[in-house]
Point group: C2
Chain length 329, copies 2
Amino acid sequence: MSKVSFPALSRVAVCGGTHGNELSGVYLVREYLRRKHNQRNAQESFTLMMVMSNPRAVQQCRRYTETDLNRCFTRATLRTATSFKRESRRLISTPISDKTPYEIVRSQELNGLLGPKGSPEAMDLVCDLHNTTANMGLCFISFSDSDWICLHIYRHLQRELATIPVRYIHFDTPKNEAYSLESVGKHGFAMEIGPQPHGSVRSNIFVAIQEGVEQMLEWIHLFNSGTQFEGGSVEVFTLVKNIDYPRDPETRAITAAIHPDLQDRDFCLLHPGDPLFLSFSGETLRYKGKEPLYPFFVNECAYYEKGIALSLARRRRVVIPSIQCDRDR
Amino acid sequence: MSKVSFPALSRVAVCGGTHGNELSGVYLVREYLRRKHNQRNAQESFTLMMVMSNPRAVQQCRRYTETDLNRCFTRATLRTATSFKRESRRLISTPISDKTPYEIVRSQELNGLLGPKGSPEAMDLVCDLHNTTANMGLCFISFSDSDWICLHIYRHLQRELATIPVRYIHFDTPKNEAYSLESVGKHGFAMEIGPQPHGSVRSNIFVAIQEGVEQMLEWIHLFNSGTQFEGGSVEVFTLVKNIDYPRDPETRAITAAIHPDLQDRDFCLLHPGDPLFLSFSGETLRYKGKEPLYPFFVNECAYYEKGIALSLARRRRVVIPSIQCDRDR
């Protein structure tokens, strides 16, 4: 594959607190703001904006106050929210109330600040910081498996971070349906890190995400300065499907938990017949799929309400080209 | 020490969901109710009541809805809540609103159901199930270090549970000031188990708490049936003090997390000079106490708001007498 050139990444945003109880990003953003990062980065080759995405949820230490902010950035919702504000309340699917849900209002503000999504004015790169209770290490999550910028940053972190495994998860969804905050940027990914209980900070996880962000900024500076990054191939996990907990058909309460043999074994190949759940009455339920797949988001606390006990991915290698900044553009 | 005799434990309550996002107890209580435990225990030597303590918080999967239910059972609050309902809103220290806080109302209901606290009608034993994000294994938490019933049950579980360490934490507080649900019973303790993120269920933790409750019920049945339990000595951890996170003097936001060397090392002796916190700017803060003490509740997620980063205890041995049920009383 020949070399691909991109314009410099001149405007970069790092966001925390998109989910208000995922505290690594909350405290990292606060720490950068305290250090007045803008002074430092004035000497760098790009401007860096640190964003506290959902300050009201952060203040309450909850994932969100009314609706999940990180599901509000589809083109449809961004358009609908505008219509909502202008005209009619019937256009959005949130419950009718006297007020627009806070997160819908906030998604508009963030789209103005970091976007507008899909426009030439959008941030060159948006990195959105998240935590998971699953034992996933540090994961890039992206709606693209051909964003060479993101994939090169991923490879850089994989090489540089010594204390934590780094992986890349690809959600194979059309860009228009991409629902999360980082999709507002020209390039973007979520940086998901765990395990950490929501509402708490673990030092090892904080240090790892801090190092991840620093290494990303270092890569951007190198890229903007003209460094050529060689091509190669990287490992990507593409989401195949989600599996819900067994539930009581009437109450919808879960009737089993992740099996001890699967708990904390994210990215360890799950074979047909392997234990999946252990019911509260002691019965082992097994994986009935026909294809071995890689589990992730195993027992993510925030996904009980979304009907996801774990996700399953296919692993493959993606060839990436050499890239270099086109400094004349 | 000579033998001590007690009346039979005829009425026993096991409570879950006192904190609505501590799910081991929530799902264990549901599972017992599903199995119609009362039929089974009709053949036993005691009646067993399973209680979902805070159903509204369980429904919302939050610790509490308005105020922490498990701080509402002091005699003063139970009295005040009654006054509150009858007369004045100024008597309680919760924010003034049009409604009595739900948890205050609920503490009254529970005191009626399981108590009244300090009365002859109170449950013989109340066991309240809790989870912690700290790596504490299974802990009894009690306001007494001389409740021989609780200490004998503790010793029984320590002997019988193979997969998880069992310890006894003593809060040296006058009985009148005991604030938690289990203090409503004639005998009572909290069964605290972790680590588990709040809002999630881990199978290993569920299996351990289930086994803990089963072994407790087994002990009660043996006791009521006339078995004599020999005296001896047991290990007890008595709370000495709590330590808060370092905080920004203006915003009160925490400025450090538990040090990686201390994280997950509950009940491992902490010596003067040992690392306590790692600040977000990378500085190690050390333990400045003069006495080596045992840390517990290290980085318990729900205690950020209470100003507790960890608790410290002194370890000692308590001599317990032989006990037997006085079946004539």
